[in-house]
Every structure is written in structure tokens, then in C-alpha cells.
Symmetry: C2
Subunit: 226 residues, 2 copies
Amino acid sequence: MHRTRVRVVEDALDANNTIARANRDDFDRSSTRVVNFMSAPGAGKTSLLERVLPELGGIRAGVLEGDVQGSMDADRLASLHVPVTQINTDAGFGGECHLDANMVRSALPSLPLADIDLLVIENVGNLVCPAEFRVGEDARVMVCSVTEGEDKPLKYPLMFRTCDLVLINKVDLLPHLEFDLDKLLYNLEAVHPGVDRMLVSARTGEGVDDWRDWLSALLEPVGAPA
Amino acid sequence: MHRTRVRVVEDALDANNTIARANRDDFDRSSTRVVNFMSAPGAGKTSLLERVLPELGGIRAGVLEGDVQGSMDADRLASLHVPVTQINTDAGFGGECHLDANMVRSALPSLPLADIDLLVIENVGNLVCPAEFRVGEDARVMVCSVTEGEDKPLKYPLMFRTCDLVLINKVDLLPHLEFDLDKLLYNLEAVHPGVDRMLVSARTGEGVDDWRDWLSALLEPVGAPA
């Protein structure tokens, strides 16, 4: 029973990877770089996008917005005049707690990929399953809020281990919390040694320039020095 | 393909409900009342348990601690001298993002049910899938932190709709946040009209007495006035 279950999971992940590669081919064909953007609920993904998208200069950005239900975040971002496409996982996808490659693939026809240099895929708020499903991204960025406690890298290691950048958000609240930033960084280093990390605040704008530069560097031609 | 998938999901939920009823029979047989305790990662479930468990007076409590990996929360609670049993969803359960009835069932032999009046099952931090799986509980309590924003009931409606009590945690931070409590309560009322709710702070202890009283009332004999 258990062995059957593991095989079903493995087959599903294999199928997902095949579709993710097809997505990636489409993204490469239109020279679109893609970020899979993940966090726990309420960590500040949408607020950070509201901050950084207007700062991207000549980079043409688009957003694929993943939610179980509704379009609240997509509505917020639409006012920034970037193309935003909503995926709801409860409409035809069984209310899934994450985006997978097939859901992203189903949304591609609604995206003007030829006119987008950078596509940010805002995943469902969840620190577990989104980390298991590649969707064809070039990079994974996750947000970890200081209000969530120092232990999160140890409790959700796959998410922290498979991301390329950790944005440590809400640092404006540090004076009001019993939060040990060194302990968080120690736990992060234990799980993913050397991973890029930035202290940011969507509220004050702290660190948003650094994040913008990191995103801009993603768009340098393949083969250019990092 | 899609219809097959929906049927697989329905079959899995049917099987889960069957096992949940078996768990419930075992809990009833030992007169143990059971709370399924849920929230997003870092909302403060363990901290609230650290506050309330020592206040329960003559009620004999136990905890079933669900995490993807590790036993950090169980270790914290063990110092309170209550029986704590750890379930890791990555050990034999594929790294699931929630507890299901079968995982809980597998842990029952490690719990001294005959000596426990109140069992709290601390679920994996996640606002989506834990709401889909009954585990044999009498009541569902969820924690929603004010740092997560006002929109969470609208974005994760199943979780808010299927719980019996919402603990609105970290209210000590309200002076430092741009958070509209009335808006959260309005959204909560839209999704689950009339649901019990309490303002609490695991840090200051605010509201913990009310929560203790709510838990104590759960243990009143079946058939007694609510």
C-alpha cells in the first residue's frame, strides 16, 4: 500500500518535470526569465512585488498569480500596469495547495510572453508542496518573514534548500519582536549554506534596491559573467 | 483525465473519513476530547500551547505534534510535562503538508489515551490541505496572526469555514502594524458567520484565559448544556 503510494507520487513528479521542461522551452524561445516566488501565507510576496515591479526600469515584467480562490492579489498588481494572469487552483485543479507545471502551462496562452522579459509566478502561500513542483522557472525566490520565528528553515527544509534567494521580510518590525536574526541566519546556513539572502521591508522599502539588482542580473544574457 | 483525478481525490477523502471515524470511536471510548489545531507556519500554535497547557487545572492534556521534519515543537512542549508524541510526515508519509486520519491512527498506540482528557493535535503549518482532512477531532481551532494581513479568510476560505474557533494571535503587535482589525473581522464574518473568535497574544498572555475556558467547556459531558 505504502509502496504503491510512493510510486504514484514519483510518477506524478516525473510527469510534472516533463511539463516543466516544455514550459521552460517556451520561456527560452521568447527569452523570458522566470522566477517562482514562494512563501508562507501573509509573508509579504504581493507587497514586495508592489514595491519592486515599478523599479525595474526598462525590464518588461509580467505576473502569474496563483491562489486557491479569488483574485485579490492580481487586482492589487494590475494597478501597476503589468500584465497579470490569475490561476485559481480550485477551478479545475481540485483546490491544490501549490502550483504545478501543468497549471502554469494552462495559463501560458493568456500571457504575452513575447513582450515579457521577466515573469514572476507568485505561488500559493505554503512552505511545503510548492517546493516539490518545478514549473519551468530559472530561479526560485522565497520570502521568510521575521514574524514567523527563527525555526522555519529547520521545519521546512526543502523550501529553503531549493531556493536561490531568501528575502527576509518585515525587518522594520524587528525592534518590536523577540526575534534573534543571527539564529535565523544560522539555521538558514545549516539548511542551505551560502544561499543568497537579503533583509527587506515591503513597508519601508529597505532592501528593495538590492532585490531589484538581483532580478536585473537574472536577465543578463546566458553565458555572461554572473 | 480531470474526471479521473477528481475521483481519486474523492476516494482518498472517503477513505480518510472512514479512518477518522475509527479514531473518533477510540477517542470516545477513552472519553478523550480532541482538538485539531491549525494555522499558517509561524502563526504561534506552539507558543499558545505553551501558554494554555499549564493553565488547564485538573484537565489532563496530551499533544500529538505534526511536522514535516524534526521535533523542535515537541521538545518545547515536553518541558511542560504533558505526554507529547511526534508525527513526521516525511517519514513514511511522503513529506505530506498536512496530517490525515491514517497518520494520526498510526500514532495512537504511543498515546496514553486512557490518561488524557484533552488531546491537542498540532497540525502541519499550512492553511490549505489540513482543512480537507478530518482526523477524528471534536473541534477545530485555528490561529490567524495579525501579521499575516486582513485578507486571509478570503484567500483560504475552507480553513476558516470549517473551524470552530479562530484565535487572532499577536495582538500585542497591533500598535506597530498597518492592520485593520475590523476588516479582518468583516472578512471572517463573510466566510464563517458567527464563528467563535478571540483576540490573543502568546507573548503577553492576553486572551489565554478565555481560550482555556473554551477548551474546558469542550470537556463538559456530552448532552450537558453548552
